[in-house]
């Protein structure tokens, strides 16, 4: 292989990388699906906290004896543990899109995704 050819190939790879990164960045910035989403947590109607869904973390919401642990991973939120009767909130699937919620009825805990890009106005379930 000549040096000329190697540079040419590297150029192509670089251009391809820039294009891919550009598309990825545009998709992330414009669609705002994995970035810029906020998780809003309320307990009995009162704001408990807001969390950036682009930062992976595990949070335990405690209210007296009531415990609910949720996990933020790859832009999605899942209730992973709770000491409520029935564990319905733990059984609910993870959420990641604006307008989606996970609700723990016995503990009156609501996890709600908000953000700039609203995919739906409501979720029928």
């Amino acid at each position: 292989m000549s040096g000329f050819k190697i540079i040419k190939r590297a150029d192509i790879i670089l251009i391809a990388a820039i294009v891919v990164a550009g598309i990825w960045l545009s998709a992330v910035l414009i669609l705002g699906k994995s970035e810029g989403q906020t998780l809003r947590v309320t307990v009995d109607g009162k704001l408990y906290g807001t969390y950036n869904t682009s930062i992976d973390s595990t949070v335990t919401v405690s209210n007296g004896e009531d415990l609910n642990t949720f996990e933020i991973k790859n832009g999605r939120v899942d209730m992973v543990n709770a000491n409520c009767p029935g564990f319905d909130c733990v059984h609910e699937h993870s959420i990641g899109k604006h307008g989606e919620t996970i609700v723990c009825l016995p503990h009156k805990v609501v996890l709600e995704i908000t953000g700039n890009e609203k995919e739906v106005d409501a979720v029928a379930r």
């Binding site: 414009i30 109607g45 029935g86 319905d88 059984h91 029928a124 379930r125």
Partner: protein
């Protein structure tokens, strides 16, 4: 990727981006909604015209989380009034509240009902007849036995189930339409209007909204959605149909106005015992969780009470019977069914308004 999807994915963001660059404000841009905290008040803009910011009330009632949204003048007062309306209805209908009309009826086996409750009961009886028993309000003792009321879940013995099913024949209820007097001839019978209470409540809320001059709004009663008009900018509401699967958010998205959208699925409330899953939608014929091959049923109708009853009834019926039922009542409702092969069946009246990126869809025609 189909053309429509391509348009949404690429053209729309570019368009939105251009609007942001040209300094178009969020108020005039329908694609940028403004979030308002639960329970906050409506904000009217300087010209005192209908604001793009909704008034919202979010609260727990009827064992669910509810959100009432309204746009326009007085919207804040109207959603507050809506919250008290919900509480009034709950106090009248809940089996969990000892002083409710329904609790008293269950205890004394006879009552003279107020007009509203009597009318709702009549509709429940009609739904029972219409669905050939697939919708039945007398399964309350059965649900208690399975632990779906207390959430102390257990599988009852076959004998217990059969005994309870003896007391679920609604023809043993006598009802005098003139006097609103109701009596259970079978004294072991107990009813629960929970299967239509949310439909009834959302209907009542939308009526209240209309009476108060609201032209655009939405109520979401724990996932029972009812829409009033269109969004303030004239565009249709977008309702996601929740997916039973962990890795998918929505079965698909429906665009609509002025209808109720009600979904039933066994994945919502269930428990596992001895390696088997048991869910909360009971088949009145067997006393066990309905098991006719459907995973999710959505009913779309102008009549929320009917949509509520039918979402349960169609789930119990199973795909073939449910679609036959639709064919003979296609003026009254539309439906989206998902069966256990993940195939979607969408009736023709909404086939243009429903899109799914994830699942194969069959359009059902009359």
């Amino acid at each position: 990727m189909n053309t429509k999807r391509f348009f949404i994915t690429f053209t729309l963001p570019v368009f939105t981006g251009c609007m942001i660059i040209t300094g178009c404000t969020a108020k005039n841009n329908p694609d940028v909604p403004e979030t308002v905290a639960a329970g906050s008040t409506a904000v009217l803009n300087e010209k005192n015209t209908v604001s793009a910011i909704p008034a919202e009330a979010a609260f727990f009632a009827m064992d669910t989380f509810m959100t009432l949204t309204a746009y326009g003048e007085n919207a804040a007062a109207v959603v507050q009034e809506g919250e008290s309306l919900v509480n009034d209805i709950e106090n009248r209908l809940s089996t969990e509240i000892e002083t409710s009309a329904v609790s008293k009826l269950n205890k004394e086996k006879t009552a003279v009902l107020d007009d509203d409750t009597a009318h709702l009961l009549e509709q429940a009886m009609e739904a029972w007849q219409l669905t050939d028993g697939a919708f039945n309000i007398s399964l309350y003792p059965l649900l208690k036995e399975w632990g779906f009321i207390s959430q102390n879940y257990k599988v009852p013995s076959a004998d217990t189930i059969n005994d309870i099913l003896e007391n679920t024949d609604l023809s043993e209820i006598s009802f005098d339409k003139k006097t609103n007097e109701i009596e259970f001839e079978n004294k072991a019978m107990e009813i629960d209007l929970g299967g239509i209470a949310k439909g009834y409540t959302s209907d009542a809320l939308i009526k209240l909204f209309k009476d108060k001059g609201i032209a655009s709004g939405m109520v979401n009663l724990g996932g029972n959605v009812q829409l009033l008009g269109t969004k303030p900018d004239g565009s249709l509401w977008r309702v996601g149909i929740s997916s039973p699967y962990e890795n998918t958010d929505f079965i698909g998205i429906l665009t609509a106005s002025d209808v109720a959208v009600i979904t039933s699925g066994g994945y919502e409330r269930n428990f596992k015992q001895d390696g088997r899953y048991y869910h909360h939608i009971m088949d009145p014929a067997t006393g066990y969780p309905a098991d006719k091959g459907l995973i999710s049923v959505t009913v779309i109708s102008k009549d929320a009470i009917m949509a509520d009853a039918l979402s349960t009834a169609l789930y119990v019926m199973g795909r073939d019977k449910a679609l036959d039922f639709w064919k003979s009542h296609s003026n009254d409702f539309e439906t989206i069914l998902m069966d256990d092969t993940d195939m979607l069946y969408v009736t023709e009246g909404i086939s243009e308004s429903f899109t799914s990126d994830t699942f194969s869809t069959t359009v059902v025609r009359k």
